[in-house]
Amino acid sequence: MATRLNPLETAVRAFNAVGRGLARLGRFVRRKPLGGIGLFLLLIVIIMAIFSRQIAPQDPKEQFFRSSPTTEQPLGELLRLKGPFTSAVVPDRSTADPLDSKSVFFLLGTDNLSRDLFSRLVYGARNAVVLSLMSVLIGTTIGTFVGLISGYVGGMLDLVVQRIVDGWMAIPALVLAITIVHSLGPSTWSIIIGISAFIWPAVSRIIRSVTLSVREHQYVDAARALGASDARILFRHILPQTMAPIIIVVSTLIGAAIVIEAALSFLGVGLTEPSRGSWGLMLSGDQVQFIRVQPMVVLWPGIFISLTVFGANLLGDSMRDVWDPRLRGI
């Protein structure tokens, strides 16, 4: 029976574990400063995603107009495509008095539909993080499972599964994603399914090759001789060996997932307006027409996408160098 720990001891142990984790992280950042930069960029995006509500100064969906009605525009002048650092007086909707007004400040200006660009970029981070993490998670889980079984069982099953993976991979990722998302209708889940559809075959290939080599090791024979079941061998003895390649592949695929999500919105099959903000959507259709009037409206989302993907790539590269140099270049 496990001895019961007193709360103090638990706290000390947790504290030590966190300390050890941070020390390892510190060593990683010192050894691979570029990986540290990548981690830093990703952390910024993740913080923006979690605390969008606190960071975004305005409601990302609200369309602003100046509280000075004219005959042409009875609601007041729309604050369309304003440059950065614009401030304006707008009606205050939070009070009952319709004449109340408040001052708003647009850090990066407004978009074509008079919405605060910075707030939309911040909420766009939430969108990118949620969609890419979810799809990478689902795709990796399926891919790991398929790869493990296919590599471990071998024989006919392996042959058939590998042909399925071949066929699946012969369809370009973007084409597969567009077809799935359009067919299932534009929703968050169909985008997640569409993106994970190109992740699982790639993951399953890598996991299969690791499984093929690991299952020949003597300790696997030893486990079998001790009477371990196939499931136990797979999950207790082989799966842990695949963790390093999985983590490395995941960090690379997150970048790809973000780009595919943005490309879907760009092509008009992903998320649609009105939305709280998606980096890809901010680069598509209506917004692009005004590229000459306010280029930054189109440049900012691209900069955010690029920096996030850049961060994921840097981190992935560095983790690969540290943990598994054999995988370099995949």
Partner: protein, 321 residues
Amino acid sequence: MQTYIIRRILLFIPTLFLVSIVVFVLLRIGPGDPVDIFLGDAAEGTRALVSQRELQELRASLHLDDNIVVQYGKWVVDVFTLNPGDSFRLNSPVLDQVKSALPLTIEIALVTMALAMLIAVPLGVISAIRQDTWIDYLLRIFSIGFLAMPIFWTGLVAILISLEFFNWIPPIEYKEIWEDPVENFKKLWLPILILAINSSAVIARMMRSGTLEILRQDYVRTAYAKGLSERLVLSRHVIKNAMLPVITVAGLQAAILFGGVLIMEQLFVLPGIGFKLVSSITTDDFPMIQFIVIMIAFFIMIINLLVDLTYGLLDPRIRYQ
């Protein structure tokens, strides 16, 4: 060698079948209904006016009311006899549509790949032989930076730059290369350049790491030791061997490149296969989508086969059984 090629080509058949089943099922599980296109843009409003019976007749004439297995069987026979039917939307045979769009896409893809190699191979070699100098850092930042930029955004920025600083936009109309090569070039040089730079970022990285690995080999030291010039060592001993992984990546790039071509065709309004595919998908034009996807998969498999065969040419140690 011959048996190897034949076996690989025979393996195409199950793979293509799988691709066709995947696409066929994907298109039919969703809520999209192809008869909507025939009802025009105001489908939502006019829907009530069109009787259910008429809709049923329409579905029957498109063979959409059959059992999915029957539909699939019919379609497979059609494709094997190279008669994939008519486009739902355009009222013309799918084959004609594809034939008119294919040359453009092939032109873009081939020129892009050639240009990407021309950019990437020298850059990768220079980066490797001058490892850890400013030129190496510059090239690495260039390649990892371009890897991170989504291609449609790079395209938008390129259009913006050409508009703002050079007051130039690509011609509106597209001319085929044998019609008017100059106009064709004017329309295509920018998208091709963007695609090539994007692909070359990946290839240059592979070329750099491949070259670094080869430079450490004993036979390279021997070559230097017997007094060969750097140029000779590189051209005779290093580049050829460093090309092997690059060819693999170039093959893998084929699928990614098609995604890029699709986006560029959309951005620059080029009537190629990618453009046709996107418009077919958004209008539920099943016969077009099915045929185009199968065709792309076929091309990609051919490219992968060619890549594997090139190994044998570059490295005589590799033999196929």
